[in-house]
């Protein structure tokens, strides 16, 4: 019906609706907070679902993020996604009859690739000992499988850093000098851990035999470790310092092999022994009776300049290699794309399952809110009647109830964010992992946003119910 009667004498009788203005919204929030405060215990129970939902969502995401960070850290430690590895492999079955013509990977391949593929940023061949060599020094033995003869580019590709001593140079290489550079893991095994001796151990200048041949250690790489391992190590170091200053005997270092509980990638990196490629060839392989006529490489690692063009670059490399190898496929490519995809898939799955559980918790929390709002409005039928009598429209009541349920969710969400830190700490305490959980701002925002949405949705039904209450009946109700 139309109410714009021209006979209206005053402006007071305007029937158009006023929008919900700021003062009234702020007021509704205040009313909501007061309601929560007036029923502290009830509100706390109601919020519990939201608190748990939000905190488990944040904690779950923090754990997954921690694992992802750990994996990515490890991947970067061994060269990152841009790294491609070519390994010598046996001639495939269908080419078996050609195997006598297979030459294996040689330095000629490296030169050809350097010349033919400009997209290769750095390329590094490696020649390994076929059997794990025995290292001996300081009266101790150690077997390692990461002993290789290399060109200096290898150090760049593996992101090694020489911390003590020096890298071998061209003269070392051309004269095939018996020199090597080692990782801290080898040092730990043969010369003692700095944790045990209490001071940094630098065996530069010492002699170590590799399969009985004496080598001079001319350099040592820095210690590679993940964030978590570093933290643990520094803590235990501080602990030892404290014990020392108190005059007590420091305990015999952390358990042996603790380094292995961390990331495998770092462990491998620390257990490296490198010597010049030429040294490896002349001292270990050239003299063997079944030695190939020219140095055979175990693998060639290279880094592409532009990861987005890796497909084309790999195709080019493959073409050159095939030509060089006369079509015999005695090499294979390995990229870290698969690993990266695995990480992505794992992270996605963990997020999905964790998110689902946390989502169910939030949903249950929402039902709790709806339940309490329904109880709240039936307690306040008379109040709603009075508000309507003095001029509250259905929309005003609707907004009021909705704001109240949202306020519960918002307060619960904030508590949940605070609580999530405790949850993360609790989980890390109960089930320590090598990866520190990382609480991200995005996860917090997402969880909080979800909580607010849940509060809003949970409020809709009670709010509609309250808004539709009949004025006269609600006024009479007691």
């Amino acid at each position: 019906m139309s109410l714009e009667s021209p006979r209206v004498p005053s402006t007071e009788l305007q029937l158009t609706d006023l929008p919900v203005d700021k003062t009234s919204l702020g007021n509704a929030v205040m009313v909501g907070l007061k309601e929560i405060w007036a029923h502290k215990f009830r509100s706390a129970l109601t919020m519990l679902g939201i608190v748990l939902g939000v905190s488990s969502l944040v904690a779950m995401s923090a754990m997954v993020q921690g694992m992802e960070n750990g994996q990515r850290e490890a991947m970067l430690a061994i060269g990152g996604l841009e790294k491609v590895r070519m390994e010598a492999q046996r001639v495939p079955v269908e080419q078996r009859h050609l195997r006598d013509m297979a030459r294996g990977m040689t330095l000629a391949d490296v030169e050809a690739l350097k010349a033919g593929v400009p997209d290769i940023e750095v390329i590094a061949p490696e020649m390994r000992l076929e059997l794990d060599p025995t290292l001996q020094a300081n009266g101790k033995y150690h077997r390692t499988f990461m002993t290789g003869g290399i060109l200096p580019e290898k150090v760049r590709i593996m992101e090694h850093e020489v911390e003590h001593g020096r890298m071998f140079n061209d003269i070392d290489a051309s004269e095939a000098r018996p020199v090597c550079i080692i990782g801290t893991g080898i040092r730990d095994e043969l010369f003692g851990r700095p944790e045990d001796t209490g001071a940094e151990v630098v065996p530069v200048g010492k002699t170590m035999t590799i399969n009985g041949q004496p080598f001079t250690i001319i350099g040592m790489f820095k210690r590679y470790e993940g964030e978590q391992e570093r933290k643990q190590r520094l803590e235990s170091e501080a602990e030892r310092q404290r014990l020392k200053s108190e005059g007590k005997a420091p305990p015999k270092g952390p358990a042996r092999g603790q380094g292995r509980s961390g990331s495998f990638a770092f462990w491998i990196k620390n257990n490296t022994v490198y010597m010049p490629l030429n040294t490896m060839w002349h001292r270990f392989q050239a003299g063997l009776s079944n030695a190939p006529p020219e140095p055979r490489l175990s693998n060639i690692e290279l880094k592409v300049r532009d990861f987005s063009k890796i497909e084309q670059t790999l195709a080019k490399i493959r073409n050159i290699m095939m030509v060089n190898h006369r079509g015999i496929e005695d090499f294979a490519f390995r990229t870290f794309e698969d690993w990266s995809a695995d990480i992505d898939r794992f992270v996605k799955n963990a997020r999905m399952s964790g998110g689902l559980i946390a989502g169910i918790s939030l949903f249950v929390g929402g039902i709790g809110i709806m339940n309490i709002m329904l109880a709240s409005i039936s307690e306040r039928i008379r109040e709603i009647g009075i508000r309507k009598a003095v001029g509250a429209g259905g929309l005003d009541i609707f907004v009021q109830i909705l704001v109240e349920s949202t306020v519960i969710a918002v307060v619960g969400g904030l508590l949940g964010l605070a609580f999530s830190r405790l949850v993360v700490m609790g989980i890390a305490w109960v089930a320590p992992t090598g990866n520190n959980p990382v609480i991200t701002g995005g996860a917090m925002a997402l969880a909080f946003g979800f909580a607010v949405v849940v509060g809003l949705l949970a409020g809709i039904f009670p709010a509609v119910k309250a808004a539709r209450m009949d004025v006269i009946q609600s006024l009479r109700y007691d």
Partner: protein, 244 residues
């Protein structure tokens, strides 16, 4: 033109197939500044009439014209606006919100009128001063006596400057003396140009108003208007000899 006109208003309920006429073809004019009582026993349709006069309910049939605007078919939302701007309610049980203090209770109608915080406070204080409760702003309703609570309710009814004050048994829960004070306040409001409608079942209370409308079986059974009869010019007569 009357401030509030009811033309052939009926309110019909259906209960179990039976038709109940709570109001049956009632026509009524209320002028601005009138002090009028509606009297009748319970079940007479008095409450129904009050609900329609107070824009709490719409009639089944007939027209209601308030300040020249037809509101018989207005939506609930529009009626809420009309109540907010034009009508002030005073109830038997005061109907203050127990969780709000006196000032907040009085501010309530202005919140729904969209009036800003500062003006709201000023106007609420002024209204409370008018009912001589300017010193109890921060009290909760349950800390006040019945008469004080009813004065808060009156302040709340007045705060949006309505044309009509609708009081439903306003003295029903008060002692005689306090009731008389409240009635005196209503008389003053009427003399200031507001239409004051007093709904009661008590003929003694109704006697204070110059005009009395008696409802029985959903119809206006009897109407007395002292002004029309010229009785209001007799000393003391207009207010039923209760003029203090």
């Amino acid at each position: 033109m009357a401030l509030l006109e009811l033309r052939n208003v009926s309110k019909i309920y259906h209960l179990g197939g039976e038709e109940i006429r709570a109001l049956d073809d009632v026509s009524l004019d209320l002028e601005q500044g009138e002090f009028v009582s509606i009297i009748g026993p319970s079940g007479s349709g008095k409450s129904t009439l009050m609900h329609i006069l107070g824009c709490l309910d719409s009639p089944t049939r007939g027209n209601v014209v308030l300040a020249g605007t037809e509101i018989a078919r207005a939506s609930a939302r529009e009626l809420a606006r009309v109540r907010n701007r034009t009508i002030g309610f005073v109830f038997q049980f005061f109907n203050l919100l127990p969780k709000l203090n006196v000032l907040q209770n009085v501010e309530l109608p202005m919140i729904y009128a969209g009036i800003g915080g500062k003006e709201r406070r000023e106007r609420a204080e002024k209204a409370l001063e008018m009912v001589e409760l300017g010193h109890r702003l921060k009290n909760r309703p349950n800390q006040l006596s019945g008469g004080q609570q009813q004065r808060v309710a009156i302040a709340r009814a007045l705060v949006n400057n309505p044309k009509i004050i609708l009081a439903d048994e306003p003295t029903g829960n008060l002692d005689t003396h306090t009731g008389e004070l409240i009635l005196a306040l209503f008389r003053r409001l009427a003399s200031e140009g507001r239409t004051v409608i007093l709904v009661t079942h008590n003929p003694e209370i109704a006697a204070v108003t110059p005009r009395r409308i008696e409802i029985r079986n959903g119809k206006i059974a009897h109407q007395v208007d002292a002004k029309l009869a010229g009785l209001d010019r007799l000393p003391g007569a207009a207010h039923g000899g209760r003029n203090p």
